[in-house]
Symmetry: D2
Subunit: 338 residues, 4 copies
Amino acid sequence: MIIIMNNDVTDEQIARVVDRLKGMGAGVNVSRGVERTVIGALGDESKIDKEALDALPGVEDVIRVMKPYKIVARSYHSADTVIDIKGVKLGGKQIQVISGPCSVETQAQMDQSAAAVAAAGCRLMRGGAFKPRTSPYAFQGAGVEGLEMFRKAADRHNLPIVTELMDVRQVEAFQEYDVDVIQIGTRNMQNFDLLKEVGRMRKPVILKRGMSATISEWLMAAEYIAAGGNHNIIFCERGIRTFETAYRNVLDVTAIPVLKKETHLPVIVDPSHAGGKAWMVPALSRAAIAAGADGLLVEAHPLPCEAWCDADQALSPEELAELMGSLRAVAQAIGRDL
Amino acid sequence: MIIIMNNDVTDEQIARVVDRLKGMGAGVNVSRGVERTVIGALGDESKIDKEALDALPGVEDVIRVMKPYKIVARSYHSADTVIDIKGVKLGGKQIQVISGPCSVETQAQMDQSAAAVAAAGCRLMRGGAFKPRTSPYAFQGAGVEGLEMFRKAADRHNLPIVTELMDVRQVEAFQEYDVDVIQIGTRNMQNFDLLKEVGRMRKPVILKRGMSATISEWLMAAEYIAAGGNHNIIFCERGIRTFETAYRNVLDVTAIPVLKKETHLPVIVDPSHAGGKAWMVPALSRAAIAAGADGLLVEAHPLPCEAWCDADQALSPEELAELMGSLRAVAQAIGRDL
Amino acid sequence: MIIIMNNDVTDEQIARVVDRLKGMGAGVNVSRGVERTVIGALGDESKIDKEALDALPGVEDVIRVMKPYKIVARSYHSADTVIDIKGVKLGGKQIQVISGPCSVETQAQMDQSAAAVAAAGCRLMRGGAFKPRTSPYAFQGAGVEGLEMFRKAADRHNLPIVTELMDVRQVEAFQEYDVDVIQIGTRNMQNFDLLKEVGRMRKPVILKRGMSATISEWLMAAEYIAAGGNHNIIFCERGIRTFETAYRNVLDVTAIPVLKKETHLPVIVDPSHAGGKAWMVPALSRAAIAAGADGLLVEAHPLPCEAWCDADQALSPEELAELMGSLRAVAQAIGRDL
Amino acid sequence: MIIIMNNDVTDEQIARVVDRLKGMGAGVNVSRGVERTVIGALGDESKIDKEALDALPGVEDVIRVMKPYKIVARSYHSADTVIDIKGVKLGGKQIQVISGPCSVETQAQMDQSAAAVAAAGCRLMRGGAFKPRTSPYAFQGAGVEGLEMFRKAADRHNLPIVTELMDVRQVEAFQEYDVDVIQIGTRNMQNFDLLKEVGRMRKPVILKRGMSATISEWLMAAEYIAAGGNHNIIFCERGIRTFETAYRNVLDVTAIPVLKKETHLPVIVDPSHAGGKAWMVPALSRAAIAAGADGLLVEAHPLPCEAWCDADQALSPEELAELMGSLRAVAQAIGRDL
């Protein structure tokens, strides 16, 4: 940690910072420049309370030298982590496209969806049984019955299932239906009690980025899961909130190479929620793969116009199949498979 | 709802939209301009699925004419709602300053805090027993023991207590210690299951604005609570996330008059988390009161530099007392009391 | 234009809006719903003053039905515009990578740069003679002498030159050195007098997106140039400003397909300024091409560590050559050349 | 400057950074911690090229210790600067409300405006002759004739005039009509050539904050003016761009105390452009004064609904007079006059 003092700092104030640092167990290095005094705190930064230093008189700024995350950092584990989902590998050379409807509606809709997902060549299926909706008056998801319909439809095609967990009280149902990949949604990225709960589970977790979460906060949210013992974490970029109103969110492709540098864990992208319109999905999907994403989460529906939720962003079965072909070419251009 | 069609729309596409609208029970008004055809859907907008219309061919844009929130809207209840917290009125002529430490640490710290809060003339006390922390390795709050210490300290001064609920499993403890006002934190503003849970409770709820929540999303989050039957909701603006890095968040004072126009419910402001530095608190507090806020949530600590959490943003007892004096003058200037 | 009235609107207020619209020459269609009255204004929207309507009593919202831009809109000219820069085609099947240093420093540096740019297979060269710098104390560019050095170096390799125009008083020098493509920088996207000036010139203009410009504002800025008679406009996405601090800007890839839909003009991307670090450039470049960009603006320097400006974002000649190879593969995967 | 090295840095890389720093004339202090090596560069930071250091191998981050601005910094001049505008003092105990229409339309409109501004008790008048409009097809201002009408109307009431300069070619006209205060608009905050030009002039300059400018960039823009010799600079906060769409911009009140701490120059606020609606102006104006602003820039028009520009944000003469009374009370509550 580096402590930058005000330009009119007194010796007494410097001494107080030094004392405080020593009390926290840190080594101290005081460097008095012509204009500024800078104090370096040596040792384990997690033991040093940044805010307490910030509050001391004469302190202008306190800067971390070390990253606050550990288990999820690439410096902790230098090789790429490849997550095995019932034999499907995510994070390796092969790119995975996880597809399916926004929400589970009926058994017929799920059966058709599963057939279309499998036919397009996808190896994993998504679908929401518990739905986070902005309005309390909107369809809130089919719930536990939805999990049952989903499991049944997906099993027929040997597709592992991915679905969102919104509340700790749903954990039991997730275990009963043996959900293969647990999704933590955007609005729950910093629902710390939920993160601790999935940290105790052993299924892979897709951690969606909060709508305005920084890369650092996102890594720290993953650290909550990892600290509980579950290291099977997949980051999912889904667009961030900005001033732009021409599309729902701004897909942050820069996050892909930056995360691949900072963490050993896989990174996927949700182009459907990012753009918010089906016609934007192909361009965004290609961009994500070209930037190095390990996979995609793409909404598709047997009859998009009839979908009960996010109808305008779902691909039809034909569009999904066509997209897969186009993505295969991009994957090969960068030396990967799909 | 108004549906704007593409400039090359076909009669068939228009007919399909009209059919779909009629199927949703809406009256229809087609207006063919020189350059654009616009379709008006008459009737209860909550019955019309905007996304399904967005997904139809030929549709360029679908625009709501009605507000999606109901119970919390001023059009539902035109007079200001005044919430009674054990005899302390929030939302009326008298402005309430809720003060106390970021987190409950020890009984002695809470006793000193309560004494300082009461001495400064505040009528409500805040303090966190369950703490949402960015890092899993940081102090996570004193938990249920914290509630006990808080209750004991506050009761000595007849101060109703305000504390944050992070998880549905903490509800029982909140009931046991009879927490007077439940705070829903920034990161949980769209934790819909938690909102539904406090909607079933009968205690007033402070709903903090999500870090990048729009006014509309915030009102809809309150609607989740109200739809459950609990109409005692207090909005708390606490700064939004922007590009600016010179301070933690940008206090959005414009939200105050806008909310007062849109809703009948009280609006308070948290200047401590907004600025992130104790020295900014007086200016931001005065601005909030001058803009029409019904109250403030101000962090104070008997020994700010020793605080276990957010040490750099807590006021000392002396600073709190001084702030109260300065706020009283501003309150009187705009015809209110403090 | 659609005017949505308040829910407690009076007949008098409606009549005043109708009168005002007729005074502006618009046809009027009043639709009285159960909860809302909506007034449609028919006719040429550019003749209707939105703000004046917004100011009338009883008006809640005024919504445009038509796009405010004309010449730059795809509805004005449906085929892609291909811009010819001394024989190099931008906007067609072939993707153009424009490369060169951030700023013109010396003749030797420009000669080496030009050689490297040509050797890598790029067909256009960039370099700044007039530099917009955040600090008045930083190197402000080599000025007119810089144009001379640039021209000389580029001519040896038949590379058309691209350079930034910052002030109307530099126009003469640009004409003297026959600058092939004029760049309007981010900070000048809404410098309307400068836009009008390049609207009178006949050279192609690269219009960089303002740091927080919406797609609509950007199109309107281009409309300023087009309205002056110069239709040779190239949009350049260069990252937008958001809350994220892990990288300089957030490259907005969604802007690429959205612009290609809204306008017939070419769209290129500047991955160097977007990410701000050389190691991010390859991933961002590939993403941009995969998303449909017609070209790139990539910083390269013979000795990046010695560059006088933005040293940390320039590619070395070797890195540039390698990037070109990788981009060629991606271009082919989506059916284009490079 | 502090240079933080990667955790796998080599001795050779450290040596190269040290050499480079010495070459820039800096003293060097290398501190090898257990996990990180940190290099301190001592001496005049403006001589050290941050980007060149960022580009060196092994460097993870480079952090400034000193502020990049000088003349505008409070450390350069500790007392508040009070600017004298023909006898009206801005930046002292007395708060100044500068009012008038968005744009100069006719002589009659300006005469009525001036009378209303003076009658309300304002001591300075604003009005735009050259208008930055998003659309090339919108009214672009009355130009030089506008300056003449403005001068004539204001002189009758001894009101110094404030008007926007958009282009260096307008300087002559500004001198001819002896404009008392030159306004640099939001879109030109980083039009560096224009800043240099007003730096050479001797009239006070109101520098509006760029729509997404950081405090630091804003101070640096002022430094451009100051470096040219003109130290009569007034900062004007006018709302920043965020994700919120319920109002035009978010008025950043936190900027007021932060600027007052960082600079000795006056700070005013434009509540009209911030909110974008006349009904929001009183609340925002009171908040600005309460937060410590030295003045306001408020739009008023004899007949708001007939204004040629921004009709929905102008106050009527009656509303302006009423606002002045309410602001006087707030000013007195914080120990100032109006």
